[in-house]
């Protein structure tokens, strides 16, 4: 079950989605973003072949209607189904506006690693590499640190990168960063977070450019 930290990251990410737009959500925290959206013109795409993903209640679950995480979903009015090649044509071809993805690590230039861990056999990549090369905008939602407390925002990734593509935005439970000219810029502190805490838990170099309303909150 999702915890408070994951929910706060997801609800913040939801504010970035303004319709009309087509959005692909990755597995984990990204999947939670959908429930914070009530804009009817935000259309959710899933790479296993559906444009128009929505929630489904337990009694209407269909074993043959799932998202890319194989979780049961519903279909909206105006939804469409298509095959995998066409679905990835939509992704690679630049027809998906936003991808929201999780990461294992990311570096200070905005490159991410989210598909493989060194020393373990590489067993799966799924659609991660396609989404990174094809989505017009990539937003990363992730906890700020790994389970062992180490920073996920590093000077350099030690895990294999998913793409040479630079992401656009990173949202953690502590902060929101934008990536500008391959540099991280802290633009917002999440509720309850302080700049000192972000500095302490971030290995990557970043600049600070907090928006005015956050400065007034006296951090």
């Amino acid at each position: 079950m999702a915890n408070e930290i994951q929910e706060s990251i997801a609800s913040r990410a939801a504010k970035e989605l303004n319709g009309p737009c087509v959005v692909n959500l990755g597995i984990g925290i990204p999947t939670l973003v959908a429930k914070y959206i009530d804009d009817q013109q935000v259309y959710f795409h899933t790479e296993n072949g559906l444009l128009g993903v929505t929630d489904v209640d337990e009694e209407h679950q269909d074993p043959n209607l799932v998202n890319a995480g194989k979780l049961p979903v519903g279909e909206t009015l105006g939804a469409s189904f298509f095959n995998s090649a066409e679905s990835f044509g939509m992704i690679r071809g630049g027809h998906v506006d936003v991808a929201i993805l999780g990461v294992l690590q990311m570096d200070q230039t905005g490159k991410i690693a989210n598909w493989a861990v060194p020393g373990k056999n590489i067993m799966g990549v799924g659609g991660a590499m396609d989404l990174l090369v094809g989505a017009k905008k990539v937003i990363i939602t992730t906890t700020h640190t790994a389970k062992d407390g180490s920073s996920k925002l590093l000077k350099e990734c030690t895990f294999p990168i998913t793409s040479t593509r630079i992401v656009d935005m990173i949202i953690t439970e502590l902060a929101v960063f934008e990536v500008k000219e391959k540099q991280l810029e802290l633009v917002e502190l999440m509720p309850g977070a302080t700049l000192d805490e972000v500095r302490e838990k971030t290995e990557a170099v970043f600049s600070v450019s907090l928006k005015q309303d956050h400065l007034e909150e006296g951090i």
């Binding site: 559906l50 799932v66 095959n83 044509g89 992704i91 690679r92 056999n121 799966g124 040479t164």
Partner: protein, 229 residues
């Protein structure tokens, strides 16, 4: 001519040891579970299986893996079945991992008479190792060869006796592209109707791609896989 097949044994008549076989599905969703079951009964080995996953632990293609009939897997997400990693570590199978969009596009190309294509996906990553790189209009691409198979085993919702196919929701996934890219294509379906009962507008896979159709007896339900008939 009706393409209706009597049973799984008849459906897999052309499958031989050492064959390359495409199997539709995204995990168990849209997987031809009846045909996979028949494959587990058939005395063949050293198969190369092209499928997004190798089933789930002890289910679908996972059973075939347990029988050590698979020599090589080509797919995008083997993580869904932990047995695959174990078999790989023991050196029992070879694996070729492709991004999901590359897997599906390579199959599409294979079915469309295209030898290969350049894609941006994977450029600069470990999956691009030893692949030809080329700059096109200022951007880097890598070459991916097309994929074909001896046999494709696919799942659809409805067929007419000519072999025209209609799919159901997200059980469609890889099935329509695999239908185009093998020498022999067998589809299992929930329902078989007479020609004319499917609207020409709704047919996704025209019959020229399909060699045989089999009524499904292994069905994925909310309670798991159940056997009918």
């Amino acid at each position: 001519m009706s393409k209706l097949l009597e049973n799984g044994t008849a459906a897999l008549k052309s499958v031989r040891t050492g064959d390359t076989i495409m199997v539709g599905g995204f995990g168990l969703i849209g997987a031809p579970l009846t045909l996979i079951d028949a494959l587990t009964e058939k005395d063949v080995k050293d198969l190369t299986i092209i499928s997004n996953n190798l089933g789930e632990k002890g289910k679908g293609l996972g059973i075939l893996l347990g029988q050590k009939k698979i020599k090589k897997g080509i797919g995008s997400y083997f993580t869904s079945n932990r047995d695959v990693g174990d078999a790989y570590r023991r050196g029992e199978i070879k694996l070729e991992l492709l991004p999901q969009g590359t897997l599906s596009e390579s199959i599409r190309a294979g079915g469309a008479g295209i030898g290969g294509y350049y894609t941006k996906t994977g450029v600069g990553t470990e999956l691009a190792k030893n692949k030809e790189e080329r700059e096109i209009n200022g951007e880097l691409y890598i070459f991916e060869p097309a994929i074909r198979a001896n046999v494709a085993l696919i799942r659809a919702w409805k067929a007419d006796t000519l072999g025209n196919l209609v799919y159901y929701k997200t059980a469609r996934n890889f099935n329509p592209v695999m239908a185009t890219a093998a020498d022999v294509v067998i589809a299992e379906v929930d329902k078989i109707v007479e020609p004319g009962e499917l609207s020409p507008e709704e047919i996704v896979t025209p019959h020229l791609f399909v060699d045989g159709i089999l009524l499904a007896t292994k069905i994925l339900t909310n309670e798991g896989v159940v056997t009918h008939g």
